[in-house]
């Protein structure tokens, strides 16, 4: 099976100029981890990843792994301040450009391997054509849905 056979082709996409706050409402409504961000021509420019947003809200010394255990620390107000500030920014400033891109011809095995290797950072890969236009999204759910009784699930990579 190829990516084109199981991808969500009418995926919800985000506008890179909308605010993070508005974009997250859409992400939440579809119960997803990340959504693709496209430009006016429909080319994929990034992925808004909830995991990556969390990374940006946390202090650098925690993200870098230099401080692994913070059980001794009180809550840190800077995290909330950073979240608040992040919400006002346009999607283009906080989206990640480090995500998997596959072609419609990529095998499902390869797509699944790429997503697995990536861990939590992004749960969806963008399916792009030769010109870089987004033609679909293939996520963990698109793969798990291949179980017989789940084929009717409404969303995989976030269908409109």
């Amino acid at each position: 099976m190829k990516a084109r056979d199981i991808m969500t082709s009418n995926a919800v996409v985000l506008d890179r100029n909308q605010s993070v706050r508005d974009a997250l409402r859409i992400v939440a409504a579809h119960r997803l981890h990340d959504l693709p961000v496209v430009d006016e021509a429909g080319r994929i420019v990034g992925m808004l990843s909830t995991f990556d947003l969390l990374r940006q809200a946390l202090p650098s010394y925690i993200v870098s792994g230099d401080l692994k255990d913070v059980a001794f620390a009180p809550d840190l107000s800077t995290v909330y301040e950073r979240l608040e500030e992040m919400g006002k920014r346009p999607v283009s400033e906080v989206m990640t450009t480090d995500f998997e891109r596959v072609s419609p011809e990529t095998t499902v095995l390869e797509a699944a391997t790429l997503l697995f290797r990536r861990g939590h950072r992004t749960h969806n890969a963008a399916v792009v054509d030769g010109e870089g236009r987004l033609v679909g999204v293939i996520g963990l759910w698109d793969i798990l849905k291949q179980m017989d009784s789940l084929r009717d699930l409404p969303y995989g990579g976030g269908a409109r």
Binding site: S60, Y61, L76
Partner: protein, 427 residues
């Protein structure tokens, strides 16, 4: 290969290797080993000769301490110390800066500097975040504290390990000759920092209270490991203190401590040995072979003769040239290869000054110059680079020139104090 040819070839290889290390384009261990290998291929010295240059006492002392620290750090004891001391001073920013600097200095004297800042700097940044103040003054003070503290003992800083091992100076020799002046220098360094930052540090009451909400006991992740680590580390340091009178070298004490803690803690062998900084170890191996080649080719003997002529057998002059020269040099380039090359040179000066005993003060001049000189710039010591890396990632980068503008004069100030001490005590 003999005579002048060997001298020219060996010097050429050494200088090229040195420049390659300074550019930092390729890993320094790779460069050092490659340079040493080329020296053997070129016929400057045989492999057997090169291996004779490797000071295994230094190598195994480093490996042993690295293993002990790799295990001990997992207990959370270092974070505990940092938070506990910050709370002891009531969460006020300047006193926190001072106590964290004290913790850094003491830990650097007993462990290696890089490990110390690796453990203390992230907690410092968390504390600064909780206080809503810039972490920069704290990190600046810690850079100075770790290099000053490291100068105090045999095991505090690689130059001291090199000197102690090559000359046969004991742990207590370093404590008696260097520790007193490092305490004075540490305190003297805090004064300008207070005038620049300390007196202006203000925090809100609620932020100060947030520091008091830190629960240092929760930083201890493994209580059993904590006690085992303290027991072994304490025994190893006690071993260093008595080693000389028992005719033991520090390396075997550190290695014994390492394997005992490894076995007692039940930690994974592969993983723990993986934490040893092999880059540093192989860098030393390469340097030792390179320096031995230079020595064999006769260059270091010539330099020793020239330095002896230049100072005309005047110990004071020789001490000052070595201390100030090492300080300026160490501020700008890695002090480890410099010290490795200086050791045979100073040894070679012995006869002109009337024997090994007569030049002993010169070793203290070299140690103080090389260790304290590391404070002169961001690239002066490995620990500085580690702290700068943290600061960079936190969006408060320690820039080369602004840092040097304050750090270099402050370093010269510490060398001035060290010179005064050295003059009063030895000249």
């Amino acid at each position: 290969m003999t005579g002048t040819t060997a001298l020219v070839v060996a010097t050429g290889i050494f200088v090229a290797t040195y420049i390659a290390i300074m550019t930092e384009k390729v890993n320094r261990a790779v460069i050092a080993i490659l340079g040493a290998a080329i020296m053997i291929f070129a016929g400057v010295q045989s492999q057997a000769d090169a291996f004779k240059g490797i000071d295994l006492n230094t190598i195994f002392l480093l490996v042993g301490m690295m293993v002990i620290v790799a295990i001990a750090r997992q207990s959370g004891v270092f974070q505990f110390l940092a938070i506990w001391s910050a709370k002891k001073v009531g969460g006020r920013p300047w006193p926190i800066l001072v106590v964290l600097a004290v913790v850094t200095a003491v830990l650097s004297a007993l462990l290696d500097n890089v490990t110390t800042v690796l453990l203390v700097a992230p907690v410092t940044m968390l504390i600064a975040d909780a206080l809503k103040v810039s972490a920069y003054p704290f990190l600046f003070a810690q850079i100075f504290a770790c290099n000053i503290g490291g100068a105090a003992t045999l095991i505090g800083d690689p130059p001291n390990i090199l000197i102690g091992s090559a000359v046969g100076l004991s742990f207590m020799d370093f404590v008696v000759h260097l520790a007193p002046v490092t305490v004075v220098i540490f305190l003297a360094t805090l004064l300008p920092l207070y005038l620049i930052w300390g007196r202006k540090m203000k925090v809100e009451e609620e932020d100060r209270e947030r520091i008091m909400e830190f629960r240092e006991a929760d930083a201890i992740s493994d209580r059993a490991l904590l006690w085992k680590s303290i027991a072994v580390l304490g025994a190893v340091i006690a071993g260093f203190i008595v080693a000389h009178s028992l005719h033991l070298e520090p390396a075997i004490i550190a290695l014994t401590g390492a394997v005992v803690l490894l076995w007692w803690s039940g930690k994974d062998f592969h993983h723990t040995f993986g934490e040893v900084e092999w880059v540093t170890i192989f860098f030393f191996v390469g340097l030792f072979m390179l320096v031995h080649g230079l020595e064999k080719a006769g260059l270091l003997g010539i330099l020793a003769g020239q330095l002896a002529d230049l100072t005309r057998g005047n110990l004071f002059l020789a001490g000052m040239v070595i201390m100030w020269g090492s300080a300026v040099f160490s501020a700008l380039v890695d002090n480890i290869p410099f010290v490795a090359a200086m050791i045979p040179i100073i040894k070679g000066m012995g006869p002109s000054f009337g024997g090994d005993e007569a030049i002993r003060p010169l070793w203290w001049a070299l140690a103080l110059g090389a260790c304290l000189g590391g404070n002169g710039s961001v690239i002066g010591a490995s620990a500085n680079l580690i702290v700068a890396g943290f600061a960079e990632r936190a969006g408060q980068p320690i820039r080369f020139l602004p840092f040097m503008l304050l750090a270099f004069p402050l370093m010269l100030f510490s060398i001035a104090i060290a010179s005064l001490y050295w003059w009063l005590r030895y000249a």
